[in-house]
Symmetry: C2
Subunit: 427 residues, 2 copies
Amino acid sequence: MFYTRKCGEIEESDFGSEQTLCGWLQDTRNLGGIAFLQLRDITGVLQLTLLKKKLGDENFKSWANINRESIILVRGIVKGNKEAPGGVEMLPDNIELMNEAETPLPLGVIDKIDSEIETRLNARYLDLRKTKIAANFQIRAAISGAVHKHLRRENFLEVQTPKIIASATEGGTSLFEMKYFDKTAYLAQSPQLYKQMLMSGGLERVYEVGPAFRAEEHNTPRHLNEFISIDIEMSFANDDVVMGVMERLVATAARAVSKETKVLKTLGIEPIEVELPLPRITYDEAVEMAQGKVEWGEDLSMEATRAIAKQMNGFYFITKWPLSLKPFYIQPDDDPKYSKGFDFMYNEIEMTSGGQRVHDVNLLRERLKEQGLDPEGFNHYLDPFRYGMPPHAGWGLGLDRLTMIFAGAKNVRECVLFPRDRTRMTP
Amino acid sequence: MFYTRKCGEIEESDFGSEQTLCGWLQDTRNLGGIAFLQLRDITGVLQLTLLKKKLGDENFKSWANINRESIILVRGIVKGNKEAPGGVEMLPDNIELMNEAETPLPLGVIDKIDSEIETRLNARYLDLRKTKIAANFQIRAAISGAVHKHLRRENFLEVQTPKIIASATEGGTSLFEMKYFDKTAYLAQSPQLYKQMLMSGGLERVYEVGPAFRAEEHNTPRHLNEFISIDIEMSFANDDVVMGVMERLVATAARAVSKETKVLKTLGIEPIEVELPLPRITYDEAVEMAQGKVEWGEDLSMEATRAIAKQMNGFYFITKWPLSLKPFYIQPDDDPKYSKGFDFMYNEIEMTSGGQRVHDVNLLRERLKEQGLDPEGFNHYLDPFRYGMPPHAGWGLGLDRLTMIFAGAKNVRECVLFPRDRTRMTP
C-alpha cells in the first residue's frame, strides 16, 4: 500500500505524527506566502497547508500549481485545525506528483455549476468523484450487502442462472437477440423459469442477484434496458409467506442504510424507517381508493397509484390481483377471478411483483391456452412440472430502483454506474 | 408455510410430538403388512413407516403405491428409530398427495446407475435432487457468501458494471455479438475496463460478482462460454497487495467450506486447508521447475504446469511474468522485460490472472502500439487515464472453477446449474 492513513480516518491520537496520504488534489488556494490544498480520497477531504517560508520558493510554487484532480502522494505531520474541513490538516514536507491530470477537465468535480446528466454520464469517471454521487453507490452496496446477509439468514441458497437463453419465455417482444455460435439466442429478461426449475430440483429456497435485460423502448426516469434483479423462489410457500420474506428483507436493508450516517449526511437525507408488518390492501380496495381513476380489471395507471399513494405512506402490498392481469404462471385464488399475485409498492412506485406459482402441470397448460399461448411450445418449461413440482412462490425486485428510493434519487441513472437505455450503451 | 419441521431437523426433543412434513417421496418398500417410505427434502431423508393394521387396507395400499418423486405432505408422530436413516421415523396418520410425479422418470434420482452428464444436464431438475449433486451447489453458495463477506470486510465496495458493451476491449475474437435496438453491441468478456474507470472515479476498492461471456470454441472440462467472475480492483496498490487480498479471500472461502461438515460428508471429501502466506514462485523459477517443458518467453503449457505442480502443492502464485505474455494494460516491472502480472494456481490449474495496471496514459499508448493496437481506437478507454488515474491493481477469479476445486469435481459443469458451452444452450 502506498499510504499510512486515509484522509477521513485520521484521529486525534495521530496528531503530531508523520503520515503518508494519497489521493486527488481537489482544489488549490494560493494566498502568496501560504497555500491551502484540498486532498480527497474515498473517506473524505483533508487540508494541506503549504508555507512558503518552510518549503522554499521553488517547492511552494510547483506544489501550489499542480493541476486539479491530479494524483498526489504527500508526507508530513498531521495536526488538529478547527478551521480545516474535518478539523484536521497536514503540513507536508513533500508532495509527489504521481499522475498529472490534463487541463481543462471535461467536467468539474467541485464546481457549483450543475451539469446535464448526459454530460455527467459521458464522463462518469469524473462524475463519481463528487462525494454526493459516490454516496448513491455506497447506499447501493449497503443494500446489496443486506440482501445477501438477510436471505442467507433465512436459509436461501445463492444461485446463478444463465443469462444466455435459447427461447423466449413470457412472449418474445422484449428480448435482446444474439448470435450464439451458429445459433440464435436471447438475453434472459428474468430468471423466472430457472428459479422454478430449481424448485423442481429440490433446492427449496434460492435467491439470485444478477443482471436482467429488457429490449423495451421506454424512456423514463425509472426504466433501464439492463438492470440488476434480486430474485427469490421458495417451495412449500404461498404468496403470503414470500411477502413476509420481502418485508423483512426491506426492513433489513433500511436498517443497513440507516447505519450509513456519514453517507446520509452527505446526501442530506433522513433514513427511511420501515415498521413491520407492512400494510396490505387488496386490488379491490386499491380500485376503490383510486376513486374512479381505474376500472376493475384494468392495470393500475400512474394516475391511479398516485391517488392510492395519497392514502398510503411508504412501502405496502397490493394483493389478490385479478387473474387476467397476471402472467400464466401465477396461481389462481380460491375464487378464480382473483390470483395469488401481488405487487409491492413504494408510494406510487411499483417495486416488484410476485406471487404463488401454478405448480400443477395440467392447470399450467390450461392457463397457457387461456392466454393464447400454445402449451406445445412450452415443453421445455413444462417438463420439470411433470415429475414432482412442489407448490412454490417468489418475486423479483430491482436493486436499482430500491437504491433510488433509499438514496432519495429522482432518476434511476443516478444509482447505476453505467446505465443502458434506448440511446446509451457507452461508456 | 406448509410444514412444521424439515426432515433433517427433527431433534430428540421433538420425539413423541405430531409434526407436518413436506417433500419428495424418494422410495417405497412394501413388505405386505408394513411399508417403508423415504421422504426427502433439502435437509435430509426421513423414514415413514406405514402399518396396514393401523391405517386400514385402503389407505395403506394407496399410500404405499404413490409414484416415486411425487410431492407429499405427511402428518403424524415422530420418534427415534436407530435403524431408520438419520435415526428418526414418522408413523403418519395422513399422507396428502400434493403433486403426483409421472412415471417413468426420465432420470433416476436414487438408482445406482450413473447417467451420462449430457442426460443429466438435460433433466437437471431431476439431477439436482441427488444429494451429491445438490452438495456442489451448497459448496458454491458457501464460497460466494465468503467472497461477499470477506471483500466487504476489506472495505471493497460491491459494484455492478454493464454486460452489454459497445465495443471490443482486448481484441474482439472472443466476443458474442448482439443487436441493441438498431445498433450492434457485444456481451462483456470481463469488467476490466469498467473496474479501471471506477479507479479513476475514486471508488478506490471495488468488487463485482457477475457473469462474463466468452465466445471461445473450446471443449474442455474446465471452460464454459458463460461463467461467473469474481473481480476486484484496488487503487494505490500493486500486484503484491492484491495477491494478499486473493490469498486471504481463498483462506476465508476454505474456512467457510470446512464448516459445511454435512455437505462434505455427503461428497465424501476432506476440506482443503489453506495456510497463509501462500507460496510465490517467479516465472523464471517456474520455467526452471518445468525442466525443459517450456522455453523462456512462452506461456506455460499444460505439460509445464503439470511438471511444476509436482513440486508445488495446492494454491500458489507465479509472479513476474514476461511483459510480452501479458495484456497491454499490465504494468511493466522495473526491468521492463518482466511485468507486474501474476497467475494464481491450484496444482496444475490456472485459477486467475491479475496484476498491477498501467496508470500512466502515455505508457498505455506505447503499450497498445507495442501490441499492434491503434491507441486512437481506444479513446473511450484512455480518457479516464488523462484526468487523474491512481496506480491500481486487481484480478478476476472464476467462481465456477473455484467451486470445482473445493467440491473436488472433475468437470466444471458439475458446479454450474445450467452450463453454456459450444453445443449447449438449454435448458
